[in-house]
Symmetry: C2
DNA sequence: TCTATTTGTTCAGCGATTGAATTATTTGCC
DNA sequence: GGCAAATAATTCAATCGCTGAACAAATAGA
C-alpha cells in the first residue's frame, strides 16, 4: 500500500522544522549536483523563504556547506551550490568477520575517510577479546577522524550471524559465537562515539544486511530496491526496499542460503535438505571444482577459482555453472515473490560474477513470470571487501541525514 | 532501516493539521475500546487542547461519532468515547473471478455493509461485458449504501492475475484475460463513486494481494506482518509488512506459486520446472486424490476433498499431506527470507487447513533456522469466500483513515 | 453538601511557514 | 559602457496551528 507513512508520534510545532530539515538535507544528499536554495524550493515545494531559513540552520550546524556555483547558462544572479559537509558528524563502521576485523569512518557525503583492517583468524579468539581489539582500532579511527574535523556520532557493528533487536548475537556459526551480548561487552570500554539525541550509540546487525546497505550507498542516490547476495561460507541476502533495509519481523530476514533448491538433496547443517548453501556456498563450489577445501583460506580460494575459470579449466567452469544454476533457482523464487528488478552479487560472489551471472540469468528467464515484461538485472557488487563495515558506517550516516535535528540540537 | 519515514513532500503549515488528523483518526481506528479525548492525548503525545480541536474537525466531517461513555471506575467527569462513524465515507470493493462477480461496501469501521455475489462462469465472457455487469451491481450497491448514509469515495477491483501500476491487467490466465485496460473500460460507464481529493477513484490489484488485506482487516487492529497464501487454481501470496501490503517494484510481488519445490520435477506452464503450483495447486491436489479434474467446479471439489479427508479416505489424506509438504518447503523458504511470524492459509486452502497445517509446520520446523527461538504460526483465514472483494473495499477505507484531510476538505 | 478527581474547553502566546516586496548579482543587448 | 531583463536570496508582516495554563463540567466518595 505504501501510503504516505506519517511520522509515528505526535506532530508538534517543532516537528515541522525537524521534518523540513530532514526533507531539505535529504534532497541535498540525493542530488546529483549541488542544488541551489531555489532548486531545493522547487524540488520540495517549500517556499524559498523557508528553504533559506532551513539551510541557514544546516549551515550553522555544519551539516552542509556552500560550494562553487554550479555552472548555468542564461542571465541572473548565480546560485550558490549546497553540498553535504565534509566536516561535522560521521559514522563509525565496525566489522567482525571470520578472518579479519575492520573499522572505517564514513562522512555525511558517504565518503570513506578512514579504514583499518586487521587480518587474523578470529575463530579461536573469545568474543570479548575480539571486541576489545576492535575498540582499540576504533579509538585510533576516532583520533584520525577528529584531525579531519569529523565527530563520530554513532557506531554500527557487522557480524556474520543472527542478531536480535537488542544487539544480542544469537548465533554466528562460522565465527563460533553463540548468545554474545555485544552491547554489554562494549559498554565495559570507554565510549567510542559522542552521543547525540536520536542517533543510537551502537547498533549490531547481520553482515549481509549491512553489505547490502553499503551497496545502496555506492549507487546513484535515491530510493531503489534490490537483492544483495553475499556469497561467503554461508549465503546471506540483504533485501533493500525503496532505499531502506528490510529486516523482517524480528530482524532475521535474508536467510537465502537455506532456500531449498534440491528438496531431496544433500542434508544441510540447518536440518533441512538440499539447501542452496550446499550447492552454491563457497565451500561447495571450491570442492566441486576439485580444490581441496582446507588448502586455502576463503578469499584466496575464490581468487584461485577465478584464475582457473579465466584459464578455461573445465572443472572450475562446470562448478561455477552448477553453482550459478542453483543460485538462479533460488533467486528466481525470490524475484517471483518480491518482484525485484535488480540482483547484486556481493562478497565472494563479486569476483566470480562473470561466470555466475549467465546461469543465474538463464534460470530467471525460465522461471520468472514477469521477466518478459520487465527484465531483471544481475550484476556484481561495486564494493570490495569489508563492504559490511562501510555499510555499517553508512547506516549511521543515513540516520543523521534522516534525522538532522538531534545533531543540530547538540551542536548549536 | 525503517527510519521514521517522513512525509514524502513538503511539510507546510497545513500539513501539520493533516498529519495530526490522520494520527488521531488512526488511533481511534486501532483502539480496542472507544477512547476519550484524554486517552488520545496521552496516546499520541498531543495536548488535550489540540486533540479537542482535531476531534472537532473529525466530528464535523462525520468521520467519527461520540459513543456512550466507556465505563470507568473512580471519580471524575465521565469521558465521551469516540468511535469511527457508521455513516459517512465508505469503500467499494469489486471482484472478478473465474466463477463469480462480487461487490461489497465496507464502512470506516471495517464492517461489511453490503454484499452482492453473482455466480457465473466468466471465462467465456468478454472483459468489457464482465465489467459492465460489475458496474451494474456497483450501482445497486451505491444506492443501498446511500440509504444507509454511506458515500462511496473510492473503488478497488480484485482480479486473479498480474496487474501493473496503471491498472492494466497484463495476464489473468485462469480468466483468459490478456492486456485488459480496466480503467479505460470502466471510464465508459458513469462513475461509481464520488471523487475525493487524495483517494484514487479506482485501483486494480491482484486478488491474492487484496485477500491478504482483507485478512489484515479481520485481525485485531494495529500493524502486523504475515504471509497470506491463496490456494486456488494458481497459488498467490499477499505479503503484509507492518500493516501495509508489499507490492514489489512494479506491483507484481507474491508469485509464490512458481517457487521451485522440485527443480527437476514436473514442467510448469510458466516455463520452469517443479513449481509449487504443480504440487499444491488445487488441480494437482484433486488429481492426486483421485478425483477427476473436470468432474466438479473448483469450490465443490475442495469441499468434496475435505469430506473425504474427514471420512479418513487414504488417497485424499495422502494427497493433502504431499501438497502440505510441498507448500511447507516453499513457505519455509519465504520465512527464512523474510522472517515472518505468521502464515495464513486462505482461499481454497482455508477449508483444507486442518490437513495442510501439520506438514507445513513440520517443514518449517525442519528448515527454518530461527524457528527454535521464534515460533511460526500457521492458521486458516478467518474470512470466507470473496475475501478479495472485502479486502479491496477495505483498502479504500484504509486510505481514508490514513488521509482524512481529503474527505474533510470536500465534505466541510 | 463538599472535596477530590478527571474530562473537556477557552484563550493568550509563540514558533514556523507563507507570499509579496526588496535587495543582490549576473547576462545580454543597444 | 550603460541599462534592462533575469535569476537568486533575504526581509517582514500576516496567518495557521500547537502549547500550556487556567477554567468549566461532571461524577464518586466522604
Amino acid at each position: 500500500m505504501s501510503l504516505t507513512h506519517a511520522p509515528a508520534g505526535a506532530v508538534r510545532q517543532g516537528s515541522l522544522r525537524e521534518l523540513n530539515l530532514a526533507l531539505v538535507l535529504g534532497r541535498i544528499a540525493m542530488a546529483d549536483r549541488p542544488p541551489s536554495r531555489a532548486d531545493l524550493a522547487t524540488a520540495t515545494g517549500l517556499t524559498r523563504a523557508t528553504v533559506s531559513a532551513v539551510v541557514e540552520d544546516l549551515l550553522a550546524g555544519r551539516l552542509v556547506s556552500e560550494s562553487d556555483p554550479a555552472p548555468r547558462s542564461g542571465a541572473g544572479r548565480p546560485a550558490r551550490g549546497l553540498v553535504l559537509a565534509d566536516q561535522g558528524p560521521a559514522g563509525l563502521g565496525l566489522e567482525v568477520n571470520v578472518d579479519y576485523l575492520a573499522v572505517c569512518v564514513v562522512d555525511l557525503a558517504g565518503q570513506v575517510r578512514h579504514r583499518t583492517v586487521h587480518r587474523a583468524d578470529l575463530r579461536p579468539v573469545a568474543p570479548a577479546d575480539a571486541l576489545a581489539r576492535l575498540v582499540e582500532m576504533a579509538g585510533a579511527a576516532r583520533e584520525d577522524a577528529a584531525r579531519r574535523g569529523l565527530t563520530l556520532v554513532g557506531a554500527a557493528l557487522a557480524v556474520p550471524g543472527l542478531v536480535d533487536d537488542a544487539g544480542l548475537v544469537r548465533l554466528a556459526p562460522n565465527l563460533g559465537w553463540r548468545d554474545v551480548p555485544v552491547p554489554a561487552l562494549l559498554a565495559e570500554h570507554p565510549p567510542m562515539i559522542e552521543q547525540v539525541p536520536g542517533i543510537p550509540a551502537l547498533t549490531v546487525d547481520n553482515e549481509a544486511n549491512l553489505a547490502a546497505l553499503g551497496e545502496l550507498h555506492s549507487l546513484p542516490p535515491g530510493p531503489s530496491s534490490f537483492l544483495h547476495i553475499s556469497g561467503e561460507v554461508g549465503i546471506g541476502a540483504g533485501i533493500v526496499l525503496d532505499g531502506a533495509l528490510f529486516r523482517g519481523v524480528r530482524g532475521w530476514s535474508g536467510e537465502i542460503g537455506h532456500l531449498p533448491v534440491h528438496p531431496e538433496g544433500r542434508p544441510c547443517r540447518c536440518g533441512g535438505q538440499g539447501c542452496l548453501e550446499q550447492y552454491a556456498g563457497q565451500e561447495a563450489i571450491v570442492a566441486a571444482a576439485g580444490l581441496a577445501r582446507a588448502e586455502l583460506p576463503a578469499d584466496t580460494a575464490t581468487a584461485r577459482l577465478a584464475e582457473l575459470a579465466e584459464a578455461g579449466d573445465a572443472d572450475a567452469l562446470r562448478a561455477l555453472h552448477d553453482a550459478g544454476t542453483a543460485l538462479g533457482v533460488a533467486v528466481a523464487g525470490v524475484v517471483n515473490l518480491l518482484d525485484l528488478d535488480t540482483v547484486v552479487l556481493g562478497g565472494g560472489y563479486a569476483a566470480l560474477a562473470p561466470w555466475l551471472c549467465p546461469p543465474v540469468l538463464a534460470e530467471i528467464g525460465a522461471r520468472v513470470l514477469t521477466a518478459a515484461w520487465s527484465p531483471v538485472t544481475v550484476r556484481p557488487s561495486t564494493l570490495g571487501a569489508e563492504a559490511a563495515a562501510v555499510g555499517a558506517a553508512g547506516s549511521v550516516v543515513r540516520r543523521i541525514v534522516a534525522q538532522p535535528a538531534g545533531w543540530l540540537a547538540r551542536a548549536g
